[in-house]
């Protein structure tokens, strides 16, 4: 099967800034693919390269096996849901959604029918005659989605589409987006800086840092088996143990990751000093220092919270200590 999107050594340099640097990606057809990374890590530039808003300064991009070199955005079977939604303020919702069909020269009746269907798909039936300015953030997001889907793209690009929504709406939209992707079977490429979002929605996640992909894999792999300290820290908020500490614990000299929820305060174990505690609802976050290494432990509700400055013993299951031998 040909890949939906394939990057071969793709770079996008802006002067001396290497926004995207020698990136290889292989996105399968029908996949929900997330690009995760902090801001400025190159994930959005990669998305813009697929859309055609940016041209690579090196390497090649293939969309369904065809090189995208020199193909302008308006000739690509790729549509985008923009971070700011980019709804046209002078058109009503129906004309926004039907814009792609209007450009394609479809007759009015067909356009209106298709727009209404698309609005039903995103649970906004009957909103066609409203102006974008009359909608809430979540509704605009759905309109942007309907507009991007109306041309029946082969690949749908989503640039932090849920970033502007409040938590509750975001969680609801995550489920809806995932269900929609399953239903339509379109390849989704989703850019986000929210690890929870990437892990909960995507089939595979690519983690970006400083213009490069540092790890690609299934969410469980990214979360439980980070290959590099950056992924352990950014994706799992894991405690990253430096090689010296790992050597003392296991005899192997490499970085190791230890999940906060895997840490327990117990009778015996490794000595650590409590620096601070903060209540975060479902648990209490305890910051500690062990062997000069800052650590974070999540203590579930109901357990005793140590006082700040106290000496405690930390323990964990051996299998929770994940060694990052491969690339450190």
């Amino acid at each position: 099967m040909t890949s939906a999107v394939q990057f071969t050594g793709v770079s996008r340099h802006f002067g001396s800034v290497r926004a995207v640097d020698a990136v290889d990606i292989d996105i399968a057809e029908g996949e929900f693919f997330a690009m995760l990374g902090p801001s400025g890590s190159g994930k959005t530039t990669c998305l813009r390269l697929i859309a055609g808003f940016e041209q690579p300064t090196g390497g090649d991009i293939a969309i369904f096996g065809q090189s995208a070199k020199g193909v302008p955005p308006y000739k690509r079977h790729v549509n985008t849901v923009f971070q700011d939604y980019a709804l046209f303020p002078h058109l009503n919702v129906r004309d926004n959604v039907a814009y792609g069909l209007m450009i394609a020269g479809r007759p009015k009746a067909e356009r209106h029918r298709a727009a209404e269907e698309a609005l039903e798909l995103v649970a906004l039936p009957g909103y066609g005659t409203r102006k974008p300015s009359e909608l809430s953030g979540g509704q605009r997001q759905r309109v942007a989605l309907a507009r991007a889907l109306i041309n029946q793209p082969k690949v749908l690009l989503l640039d932090e589409p849920l970033g502007a929504l409040d938590l509750k709406l975001r969680e609801q939209m995550q489920e809806e987006l995932k269900a929609l992707q399953r239903k339509l079977g379109i390849t989704f490429v989703f850019v986000t800086h929210d690890q929870g979002e990437a892990l909960s929605m995507a089939d595979r996640v690519a983690v970006f840092n400083e213009g490069k992909i540092v790890q690609v894999g299934r969410p469980e792999d990214i979360y439980y088996r980070p290959e590099v300290p950056f992924v352990a820290d950014f994706v799992g908020s894991s405690n990253v143990l430096p090689p010296e500490v790992t050597e003392k614990l296991t005899g192997k000299r490499c970085h190791a990751a230890l999940r906060p929820e895997a840490l327990r305060i117990s009778e015996s174990g490794h000595v650590a000093t409590v620096r601070a505690t903060s209540f975060i609802g479902t648990a209490t976050r305890v910051s500690l220092v062990m062997d000069d290494t800052p650590m974070v432990a999540l203590i579930p509700k109901g357990q005793e919270i140590p006082a700040v400055g106290a000496q405690v013993n930390l323990s964990w299951q051996d299998e929770d200590l994940h060694l990052m031998e491969a690339r450190s």
Binding site: Y74, N79, T80, F82, F88, H90, Y99, I103, A104, R147
Partner: protein
């Protein structure tokens, strides 16, 4: 210490005035708005209505005195062939200047809004505004020299051996003439030059407000650059184009100096107003002429609104 727990202890007449205004925000608005409102209401609108009232009087042809009785006779005079010609001529000129100014301004404004950064933005503003710093009369007289038969433009055509082209152009009736400086083409060029900044700046301001993602979204949905211009960029910039056209159109409608210095002897509305209220002493007809641009602008804005030109505001 305890009595300073809420008050910072600052005092004085200005502080007390600030405090009082802070507690009475409506008074602040009233104080700020009253002087300009009086200016606008009495001096500006007042004189405009005085002018309007004059247009409903008439002049006694025999004695040359103004008859202070309501009549539409003066407006009727506007439709005599000679006067109606003046109106048509002025409106056609204003429309031509406006269209040309919009065509020239849009690319400049687009570049300035989309691509010019830092130093180049300063260069843009300077380039657009610099002509406004010198006297209007100086600019118009300079143009007279440029366009004259002995002027630089003629000379340029001559050394390029293209004089025949200029002569062929000047031979065209209506827009041609003895030389560019006594033709309507000359009048048009000077109008265009003098009013151009008033078109560039509003368009640039409106284009600044169009996010790049809007154009990207249009392209993303299959629109080629021409379609994106027609269906997204132009509608969104239209309020700016209309604002600019209000300037160029109304300034051209009312101007009486440019056509007097550069152009043929046939008059424009501004010149008609000038001569009727001055030497001829026919204030009512001058007032009636002055009402024409106001009516035209009113109709223009009404049509623009009906056509949805301000929907993007």
């Amino acid at each position: 210490m305890s009595d300073l727990s809420l008050h910072t202890g600052r005092s004085g007449p200005l502080t007390r005035l600030s405090d009082w205004l802070w507690r009475n925000p409506r008074m602040l608005i009233l104080l700020l708005l009253t002087p300009p409102a009086l200016w606008l209401g009495i001096i500006y609108l007042g004189s405009l209505f005085a002018l309007l009232a004059q247009s409903f009087f008439s002049i006694d042809e025999f004695s040359g005195l103004i008859v202070y009785e309501f009549t539409l006779k003066t407006y009727g005079e506007l439709f005599t062939p000679a006067n109606f010609d003046i109106i048509v001529r002025t409106v056609v000129m204003a429309a031509a200047v406006t269209v040309a100014a919009a065509l020239i301004s849009f690319p400049i404004a687009y570049y300035a809004a989309r691509y010019a950064k830092g130093k180049w933005k300063a260069v843009f503003y300077l380039g657009v505004m610099l002509p406004l710093w010198s006297s209007y009369l100086v600019k118009v007289y300079s143009w007279k020299l440029i366009l004259a038969k002995e002027g630089i433009l003629n000379w340029l055509f001559e050394i390029l051996h293209m004089k025949w082209l200029l002569e062929a152009y000047l031979a065209i009736p209506v827009i041609g003439g003895n030389s560019l400086s006594v033709s309507w083409t000359g009048t048009f060029l000077v109008f265009l030059y003098v009013w151009l900044p008033f078109m560039v700046l509003p368009i640039q301001a409106s284009l600044e407000r169009v996010p790049t993602s809007m154009l990207e979204a249009s392209g993303d949905l299959g629109a080629n650059p021409g379609q994106s211009f027609r269906y997204v960029l132009l509608p969104l910039a239209l309020p700016g184009v209309i604002a600019g056209s209000i300037f160029t159109f109304s300034l051209t409608l009312g101007d009486y100096i440019i056509p007097q210095i550069v152009g043929s002897s046939r008059r424009f509305i501004g010149q008609a107003v000038y001569s009727y209220q001055g030497t001829a002493g026919n204030i009512p007809l001058a007032a009636a002429f002055a009402v024409v641009p106001i009516v035209i602008m009113g109709v223009y804005l009404w049509v623009a609104k009906r056509k949805g030109a301000f929907d993007a505001l």
